[in-house]
Each structure stands twice: as structure tokens, then as C-alpha cells.
Amino acid sequence: MQETTIRPPKGWELINFKELREYRDLFYFLVWKDIKVMYAQTILGFGWAILQPLIQILLFTIIFGKVAKIPTDDIPYFLFSTLAIIPWTYMSSAMTLSGLSLISGQTMLGKIYFPRLIYPITPVLTKLVDFGISLIIILVVMIAYQVKPTAQLLYLPLFILMMMAVPAMVGLWLSSLSIRFRDVRFAMQFIIRMLMYTAPIVYSASSIPELYRFFYSLNPIVGVIEGFRASLLGLPIPWEYIVPGMVVCVIGLIGGALYFKRMERVIVDVI
């Protein structure tokens, strides 16, 4: 028979993976619920997963490509922006949901126990469905621009993994902070906007002076987007933009998990 010991938590703790595994069915149903509920009672349903990024791509192409004429290393702006906005849409929406997951789940938090880590991680998985659907846009656009897949495509899974690590990391930190400081809710919009303009979404990373490149690429979103573009367009992978972000991701994830575990114990008393 399973024996549980409850004692006051002390110091730093690592994630209890064994416990998380015991709750995998719950994990599965929560993700599945979010997916089912996401587009409930809408006319377009999952069509929104296509329409949302598509409209943004069109807007950006008109404003930044046609009006502002931002240079894109000779890639057609529509194609250029598609390859950035699809992963960005995933990251920004997963990040928002994950960061606010504890605030939105507070009624359940106070009533029932399951590993709290499930709250910020669920949106990271849920939003993958939208991302999967929106890959259709990438496919259609690449066919339209007659981009032929190359061996570089094999790197794509790595960048998808990195793309998932970003909202997981941001979500862990922000949701832990949100336990005490509701400011997170108001800062969220601003953080997302800021991240978007500091990443090469509307402009090309090569327009950043080489002197600042290292600091610039500490933002892991830079690596994700540069990686997506390179692997899909068959260009050489710009590791100098990717590796710093990857390191930040790993450190940020571990740190975030530790911080989350530390804050998790006071959630119910403080939130």
C-alpha cells in the first residue's frame, strides 16, 4: 500500500517525476479538455487556428513588407513572415495561458491536490494542436513559393522542441510570480509585445549589428525563429543565433522549475 509522508517543505526541491507519472491520466484529460473547450460554440472551430496567424501574416506583409519595405535577405516578405509568425503565435499564446494558469485555476487549487506543475505545463501541450493545424499554412505557402525541402528539414524537430521550451520556461517563472504578485496579469500583454519586437519576426536578424549579436541571441525566441527559417528554407543553420538561446532555455527551465517548486508550497495560502 502506498505510504505518504507530509512534512513542512524545506529548501530547494527538484521535480518529482515519479509523481508526475502517476498523474499522467489526469494530464492527458486536462490537455484533452482544453482542446475540446477551446473552440466550443464557435462557427469556425479549429479554423481559427488557421485564420488567426493568417490574418497577422497578411497584416505584417502589407505594413512591414509593402509599406515600410523592411529588408528580409531577399526572401519574399510573405514567406519570411509566415515562417516566423506560426511558431510565434504558438509561443505567445502558450506563454500567456501558462503564465496565468495558477490565477485562472485558483478555485481548483484550493480544493484538490494534484502536482501543481500540471497547471503551467498543460497549455504548452494544448497549444501544440493549434500549432499542428497551422503547419498547413507553412505547407501551402512553401508550395506556392516553390521552396523545395532539403536535408536541413531534419533539424526542425530540434527547433520545435526549443519552441516548446520557451513558453514552458516563461510560464514557470511568471506563474510562480503571479502567486504573490497579480501584476503579472497586467504585465503579460506588455511582455508579449516586447518579446515580439525583440525577436526577428517582422525584421531580419541580420539587421542587428554584429557587435550586439551575442546579447541579441540570448533571447531564445531569436534562435527558434532563425532555426525555423533556416531549416525550412534549406539555408545554413545560423548556430551563432541559436546556441546562446538554447543555453538560456536550459538554465531558465531548470531555474524556473526550482523556483516553481519552492513557491508551489505556499500557493494555497497566498494566492
Binding site: M1, Q2, E3, T4, T5, I6, R7, P8, P9, D25, L26, Y28, F29, L30, K33, K36, V37, A40, Q41, M108, L109, G110, K111, I112, Y113, F114, R180, F181, R265, V266, V268, D269, V270
Partner: protein
């Protein structure tokens, strides 16, 4: 107490909370503006400190005694619960019951101490947690089941049983938002009722739904208890507690005040710290309730043998004694008392109808008016007594009105000769008279139905 077959071992559990710090008020616009500027810094300190207890000694609750911002919800609570034991937890609001349950179900950690639990814990306190409006009944059964700690396989196995129990088969594929609230509760309860935890925690305070539903909860609990599972039951209903539990723990301001046999603990609780609730006296006439004509001197509850007692057998009569002094002669007076149950229902009002003194002006002196509540009249439970005295003639006036002067509880010892007969389940009702029952028996002996005399 150290037993081998323990299910829960609680050792020196304490829990401390930091209360919100009061915001200051400003009397001038200037001060208000200054504080508006300083606010972010103050807020940062305040919200940062919410979970930190560096400034107090967690191992020693007394050191933070008297501090306004610190609340010890539990102090040094220890007990063992054996496997299969059905234990009630009682106490006034704020005694720490909910905190204890939250710690046991791992929702919040203790500040100090250690708890060992053998087996899976589930709580019935959260009927319907995680139900989602947009999902169908079927989907919610799975979601809710896994939230409550079941594996998908378990839900699969029990699905038909759950649906049958809930009685909403026809609406299984309808989103829950279209359900009536009753249907939703039934489905939610059906899921919770089919958990098979080794340890079940029930908080009746949070139980929603109508009387029938609550009764269903109770019956389910009793069933669970009889299957050798450990049950922890928080309730404000003393009859329910005494009937269902083999043992009761009384919490008072975060401490275990009493732990043991239900009747004893419940009676300690009903007394509420007072030694004896069955007697109340006013030794000083000038302080006693009343006016110029009459003063109340004492109110007592006695059993058949004339002893003052606050615990009475449901089958036995209870004597209510009103002792009063008439200071001014020449008035016709009317002593009365009323009985109230724990739900605040006025069970009855009794007016003194003693023929000797009815419509008779009383001379000064001491009087003891006794009204006898018959046995087999009140239901089980806790009751309080109010007393009022009316001047009837020459002027109509209320001399005194005293509420909750004395309190008592009525206990059914389940020997089978009370109105509940052999039924040991929950019985609602304000009174429980023992009725005269008769039965006529008819038999078909081939040539028509005839009455059989036994």
C-alpha cells in the same frame, strides 16, 4: 498510542498563517498622494512577506502570541487513526477543522510536524470540482474522475455504475451547461461516490444540495465506513456525528481539546467551555434579569432522578425548572420557556398552566415553576432554552427575556425501544414522538381474503 494497523499518524502538526495587514486611511489629500507614490514599495514588501515566517519561531507558538498579523490555525495537533476507524472532527468555526483537512489532503503543507498516511486519500468535500460547462456528461465523468485521483482504467470500469447511480443516462452526450443544477450535482456525486480510496475525507459544511442529496451523502459514508475504510468526517450536526462515528476529536482554537468516545466529546463541545450548561443561576438579585415585579434567579435542567444534567436520553423526560423571586405582590404572572434546536428552529413554546396559580395574583416570595418535557418527544440533537416571563394583570408587560440560558443534548442510545426502532440511519425531523403502531394482517386462504388474528 502506538498501533500497528494505523492509517493516519499525525504528529505535532502546527500551521501558521500571516493575516492581511490593515491598510492605513488618509485624512488629507496630500497624505493620500504621498502614500500613492510609496505604495508600490510597501506592496512589494507586504506581498513578499506573505509566506515568510523568518520573524517568528515556528517551533514555539507562544513566542508569537498576541501578534495581530499571525494566526496559528493549528497548534501541536497529534493523533493516530486506525485503519477502518470512522472519526468525527468537530469544533466551532475557526477551530482549525478545515485547515486540518487541507493538510491531510495535501492542499497546503503544515508549518511544523509530520503526518504519515497509508493508502490513497480522497475527499468528498469537492463534489463537482473541475466540472466543465462545455463538456458533455460523459466527458465530465472522465475528467472529474481523474481529477479526484482515479486512473482512466478505473473510470472505464465503473462508468456504467456511475451513470446508473446518477440517473442522467439520457443526457450523457449533452453539455453539462444544459443540465439542471440537480442533475449536475447528482452526476458529480456519482463520480465521487465511486472512488475507492482507503481513506475518505468528508466535509459536510461544504456539502451542497438539498436534504435528500445530503442524506445520500451520509448513507454513502456509512456504507464506506462499513467496508473497512477509514473515514474522517467534519460536521456541525451532532446527531450525525454521534451516530456515525466511533470516535470524535474536538478542536478548539487549533488544539485538540478532547478525543475519544462520541457522547463524551460531543457533550464537551455542547458545553462550549462552560462546565455545565444545564444550570444557570443569578446569585445577585440586583443583577438578575427582570424588573420591579419579578426577577429570574435560576434555570435548571434535571433528569428523572432529579440530577442537573445537560445530556438526556431520548426516552426520558426532562424537567425545566424556572426559579424566580416575586418582589412585588398582586400580579398575575406567566412563566414561559421555549426550546430551539441547533438549526435555529423553535421546537416549541411552553407556558405555565399550573391550575393552582393560574389567574391568581401571587404574593411576594420565591417560586420554582417546573415544566416537564416528556420523553420520546424531542429528536436527537443539541437544544437551547430561552425563557420569558409575562405580567398578565393588572398591566401586560414582559419582565424578562433570556436567550440561550441553558443548553442540552438529546441522545439516542440505539437500544431499539425509541421511535427510531431498529433503523440506525439518519433521521430528520424536529420532534420524534414514539407513536402507537398497529398492524392488521390478511391472508388469502382460498375462499377469499380474511383477517388473521395473531
Amino acid at each position: 498510542m502506538e498501533t500497528k494497523d494505523w492509517a493516519i499518524k499525525v504528529r505535532n502538526i502546527s500551521k501558521v498563517y500571516r493575516l492581511g495587514v490593515k491598510d492605513e486611511m488618509h485624512d488629507t489629500l496630500g497624505k493620500a498622494f504621498a502614500s500613492f507614490l510609496k505604495k508600490p514599495v510597501q506592496n512589494l514588501r507586504k506581498y513578499r512577506s506573505l509566506y515568510r515566517f523568518d520573524d517568528i519561531d515556528v517551533d514555539n507558538a507562544e513566542t508569537s502570541e498576541g501578534r495581530e498579523d499571525i494566526l496559528w490555525a493549528l497548534r501541536d495537533v497529534s493523533f493516530d487513526i486506525r485503519k477502518g476507524e470512522v472519526v468525527g472532527i468537530i469544533g466551532t468555526n475557526g477551530a482549525g477543522k478545515s485547515t486540518l483537512l487541507k493538510i491531510l489532503s495535501r492542499i497546503t503543507p503544515p508549518s511544523r510536524g509530520e503526518i504519515n498516511i497509508r493508502g490513497r486519500v480522497s475527499s468528498l468535500l469537492e463534489v463537482g470540482t473541475g466540472f466543465h460547462q462545455e463538456l458533455t456528461g460523459r466527458e465530465n465523468v472522465y475528467l472529474n474522475g481523474t481529477i479526484l485521483g482515479m486512473r482512466k482504467k478505473e473510470v472505464d470500469r465503473k462508468f456504467d455504475e456511475i451513470v446508473e447511480f446518477s440517473g442522467v443516462e439520457a443526457f450523457l452526450d449533452t453539455p453539462v451547461k444544459r443540465y439542471s443544477s440537480g442533475m449536475r450535482v447528482r452526476l458529480a456525486f456519482a463520480v465521487a461516490a465511486h472512488l475507492e480510496p482507503e481513506i475518505l475525507i468528508v466535509d459536510e459544511v461544504l456539502a451542497v444540495g438539498d436534504v435528500a442529496f445530503q442524506r445520500k451523502c451520509m448513507n454513502k459514508m456509512q456504507e464506506v465506513g462499513s467496508h473497512g475504510r477509514t473515514v474522517l468526517f467534519v460536521s456541525h450536526s451532532m446527531p450525525a456525528i454521534t451516530r456515525m462515528c466511533e470516535r470524535v476529536i474536538l478542536l478548539d482554537r487549533g488544539r485538540v481539546l478532547c478525543d475519544g468516545e462520541p457522547h463524551r466529546v460531543v457533550s464537551a463541545y455542547v458545553k462550549g467551555g462552560r462546565d455545565n450548561t444545564a444550570e444557570k443561576e443569578w446569585p445577585d438579585v440586583s443583577q438578575a434579569p427582570g424588573g420591579e415585579v419579578v426577577r429570574l434567579r435560576a434555570l435548571r435542567l434535571k433528569n428523572e432522578s432529579g440530577e442537573v444534567s445537560d445530556s438526556h436520553d431520548i426516552r426520558c423526560p426532562i424537567a425545566v425548572e424556572i426559579e424566580f423571586d416575586v418582589l412585588q405582590g398582586g400580579h398575575v404572572i406567566l412563566p414561559t420557556f421555549s426550546i430551539w434546536n441547533s438549526e435555529g428552529i423553535n421546537v416549541c413554546v411552553a407556558v405555565d398552566v399550573d391550575p393552582e396559580w393560574r389567574r391568581v395574583a401571587r404574593p411576594p416570595g420565591k417560586y420554582i415553576a417546573t415544566g416537564i418535557i416528556p420523553g420520546n418527544f424531542l429528536a436527537e440533537g443539541a437544544f437551547t432554552v430561552n425563557t420569558t416571563l409575562w405580567l398578565q394583570e393588572p398591566v401586560r408587560n414582559c419582565e424578562y427575556h433570556v436567550t440561550d440560558a441553558v443548553a442540552f443534548q438529546v441522545i439516542d442510545s440505539l437500544e431499539g425501544d425509541s421511535a427510531r426502532g431498529d433503523y440506525i440511519g439518519d433521521l430528520p425531523g424536529v420532534t420524534r414522538p414514539l407513536l402507537k403502531w398497529t398492524t392488521e394482517y390478511f391472508q388469502d386462504n382460498g375462499s377469499g381474503v380474511t383477517k388473521v388474528a395473531l
